[in-house]
Symmetry: none
Subunit: 250 residues, 2 copies
């Protein structure tokens, strides 16, 4: 059924149905390749095929996506080998099909592929979008949740968002980033932070900073807290020592 | 600090830094409005402002985003009122800052806003991207995970993906990965951080700290990055000013 021998069989197929502008076909190819998708199928392109405008827009590596694209006279034929297809349309609510966002469609599509299936995302012509007859061939609807007062996404943007979601979902869940340090740099340890705090406290004391005397303890505590919160590297600590030495040089 | 009275105070600010092509500014405005974002700030646009190409590209409702956009001579000034800023760059790994994806940055940004902060996403010029000097003013890095063999996202696409993630609102707000501010304290805004950095830079310059002269630029950049990483409160900034004044009193 599907093409398990193909290197792209684990990827979704992107089907552009009756696309009008070569520029948009090229932009879709770029958007696909941005997220590592390479299998494009094109149904009955208005300006024929190959399309020089598409090639110009997809300059560089994305040209390979166009070179490998297959062209079909009808959507039905373009769905060769596909086991589950999402039709991209803003009119999901009228349809008796499940409606997915890019995120849920990607998760669902991946599950389909894991079961040996082949997944397609179908995009319509720029101006009018997919017709009911096209949508009838899909298992489900894909709708990008956009601002209802300004819902205009072009073809390249719709493909981009789908490609983005597809790829994000494939990545393992990412840990929340913590403060990063440059390669080779090391977090300051607590003793270094203590010594830094001591150094500042001593010099500020000499300079008469902790005044009036009854406020000195909370002021010192506040400073200690400040150094501790800073996620300093060992190099940062040296910089802060150096600044202070220079500032207090007689 | 922030502008709690503004209807857009719960939205991130989108800052375009030295954008080159009017078309791209217009495309960014469209991408913002697709996801309901309306506050654009523009730093030193190459072709001046207003830009007829931007207006033509942002036809329709997106023109209002451009009408309301504010233009600033420098990134520092454009960060007025901002308490937490993400710099969009593919060069995250070289930096000593936390690196976020659009998804984690959105979750983090929402948490910052819930604490009363004001969030900005900074995008660079089309060709060269943000410079180190720009990135030094941000608290963290935003990197879109793309195919390393074809990583070319244009300005409009980068804004689109960020806007999409911001709106999807899928992840629960996550705790600050580095420093948390004490409860009830207010984040310093970027202008306060700029002035703090300027104050230290000036006094350290007087003290002969930036030596030898050819090392002064990287030393200054390093210090700017240090202040940006510190998650300082408004009170912290006052403490740091006070320390410096006292240390440099003759």
């Amino acid at each position: 059924m599907s093409q398990p021998e193909s290197p792209t069989a684990t990827q979704p197929v992107i089907i552009l149905t009756r696309p009008q502008m070569g520029d948009n076909i090229g932009a879709a190819a770029r958007a696909m390749l941005n997220f590592g998708l390479t299998e494009m199928r094109i149904v009955d392109p208005r300006d024929g095929w190959p399309n020089p405008r598409a090639v110009a827009m997809a300059s560089g590596a994305a040209g390979q996506v166009l070179d490998r694209a297959r062209v079909y006279p009808t959507l039905a034929e373009a769905m060769e080998g596909v086991t589950y297809a999402f039709a991209t349309t803003a009119r999901g609510r009228e349809m008796t099909k499940p409606v997915f966002t890019p995120a849920t469609a990607s998760a669902h599509g991946r599950a389909e592929i894991e079961q040996g299936g082949r997944v397609a995302f179908i995009f319509g012509p720029e101006r009018a979008g997919l017709e009911n007859d096209d949508i009838a061939r899909a298992n489900a609807i894909l709708t990008v949740p956009v601002n209802p007062d300004f819902p205009s996404l072009n073809l390249g943007q719709a493909v981009l968002l789908l490609g983005y979601e597809w790829t994000q979902n494939r990545l393992p869940p990412q840990p929340m980033p913590t403060a990063r340090r440059p390669a080779g740099e090391v977090a300051a340890d607590r003793i270094e932070i203590e010594k830094l705090a001591d150094h500042y406290e001593a010099k500020l004391d000499e300079a008469g900073y902790f005044f009036p005397p009854e406020k000195a303890p909370p002021m010192k505590l506040n400073l200690r807290n400040l150094w501790s919160r800073m996620a300093l590297t060992r190099a940062d600590v040296q910089v802060l020592h150096g600044m202070l030495r220079q500032l207090t040089r007689r």
